[in-house]
């Protein structure tokens, strides 16, 4: 089992990597961790707010990924999406368990991810493309997604907090997600 730790993976390589994970192959586990350990941990830290919780989350994410590896289908989505979705589900579930409803009610602008300088070449490609794709969003759209994704706020909670109709919030969240995805696809193209 050998796979590159950097650069985009072909779906066949992703499938092979997940097969290795499924088999408990140590090299495959290390390769998946090398690629996605940091974004998973960083997201966990952002959502849960403590290093200890983020470490536990990271461990849970990889064990869950191993357990669910047989269900991974590269034709339905990328390994990064699959893994980050598992991570986010676990993080938000944990946030709800430990903090009752939702943690933050307001995301200040300095908590919203910054758009990067153009020379941050050391970033993993997925993160780099994602950060660049953020440039396509307005500040309001970035703030909205930040409150929902990192803050765990539902559309109804945002609607009530902002005094905006629920349908409007849902429409804005959907539009922001679609815009971000399109921008990311553009940024990933050579």
């Amino acid at each position: 089992m050998s796979a590159r730790t950097h650069g985009p993976l072909h779906p066949r390589e992703e499938q092979a990597l997940v097969e290795g994970l499924l088999a408990g192959d140590e090299e495959a586990i290390r390769t998946v961790y090398a690629r996605y350990g940091r974004p998973v941990y960083s997201m966990g830290l952002r959502i849960l707010g403590s290093a200890e919780a983020a470490q536990e989350l990271t461990q849970d994410v990889f064990v869950t990924a191993w357990r669910k590896a047989a269900g991974f289908d590269p034709s339905r989505g990328r390994l990064s999406t699959w893994l980050m979705t598992i991570a986010h589900n676990l993080a938000v579930d944990r946030l709800r368990r430990e903090h009752g409803a939702r943690k933050p009610t307001l995301v200040l602008m300095d908590e919203v991810p910054e758009t990067p300088g153009l020379d941050e070449e050391e970033l993993l490609l997925e993160r780099d493309a994602a950060l660049r794709a953020l440039e396509a969003l307005t500040d309001a759209e970035r703030s909205l997604l930040g409150r929902a994704y990192f803050g765990g706020m539902t559309a109804r909670e945002i609607s009530e907090a902002d005094g905006v109709p629920l349908g409007t919030v849902k429409t804005r969240v959907r539009a922001a997600l679609i815009k971000l995805r399109r921008a990311n696809l553009d940024k990933e193209r050579p």
């Binding site: 586990i29 350990g37 974004p39 952002r46 470490q55 269900g71 990064s80 999406t81 986010h88 969240v173």
Partner: protein, 254 residues
């Protein structure tokens, strides 16, 4: 739940923000609706993109080794579980999960309760109770390549579930199917047969044939099947005359 209702919830589904009732409804719909599944995948991808934008954190020392050990230990542990124990354990665990609130049973029970807030609270409570058994099922009984599909079985003319069925597909091992009917409708002619069908409904597989039910009208059976059941999507219970008594979609539980 129809397509417009599901589409309305998909952005929050992609952001892991739905409560148990809505999440269950969406996932059931996505199990058979390719168009909504495509939209859901697209929004999930966007959610993952946003996740990558979290401020990069310094990785703690030793975390990689703990992750490798946790996954390796899990992989080693599963290989030591005996198949028969697993077979019996899965049947017992699925029954316990149903009793405790897994597989959305909380949602089903709560949907019969009163106001929306009480329904949500009841669903949350029952779902949490089921989590312990779910972990046993996941950690000790199901192997990583195993896939558990679960179906609430309902009569054609009613929304109330009258039983459940499950399928465990297991590469390299006989697959397992189980059915647990709480109470068959009066007047059902025996024997009843339980069939599984694939997405197109062309490949029907007879998995259970029961001549008798107990005094309360209940039936509980589990069997190993020497066929690959990985493509099945529907479980159907028919009476002796071939009439459909109960049916349900087989979904992967949360």
């Amino acid at each position: 739940m129809n397509c417009p209702a599901v589409r309305d919830l998909l952005p929050e589904h992609a952001l892991s923000l739905l409560g148990p009732l809505d999440r269950l409804g969406v996932q059931r719909h996505l199990a058979w609706c390719a168009a909504c599944r495509k939209e859901a995948a697209s929004l999930e991808e966007a959610g993952a993109v946003f996740g990558f934008t979290a401020p990069e954190a310094q990785m703690p020392d030793g975390l990689q080794e703990r992750v490798v050990q946790a996954v390796s230990t899990g992989a080693a542990k599963e290989s030591t579980i005996r198949h028969r124990m697993r077979f019996l354990g899965v049947a017992a665990a699925v029954a316990a999960l149903v009793a405790l609130g897994g597989f959305g049973w909380g949602a089903v029970m709560a949907s019969r309760a009163g106001d929306a807030e009480r329904r949500a609270q009841e669903a949350e409570r029952l779902q949490e109770q089921g989590e312990g058994v779910q972990e046993v099922l996941d950690d000790q009984l199901l192997r990583p390549r195993d896939r558990l599909l679960f179906a609430w079985l309902v009569p054609n003319d009613g929304a109330q579930s009258d039983g459940w069925g499950y399928v465990v597909t297991s590469p390299g091992q006989p697959d397992v199917v189980g059915v647990n009917l709480v109470g068959l409708p009066a007047g059902v002619q025996m024997p009843v047969r339980v069939w599984l069908t694939g997405g197109g409904g062309n490949d029907r597989i007879l998995v259970v044939r029961a001549r008798r039910i107990d005094a309360s009208g209940a039936l509980e059976q589990a069997r190993r099947i020497d066929r690959n059941l990985s493509g099945v999507t529907v479980m159907v219970v028919k009476d002796a005359d071939g009439r459909v008594v109960l049916s349900g979609f087989l979904d992967a539980p949360d």
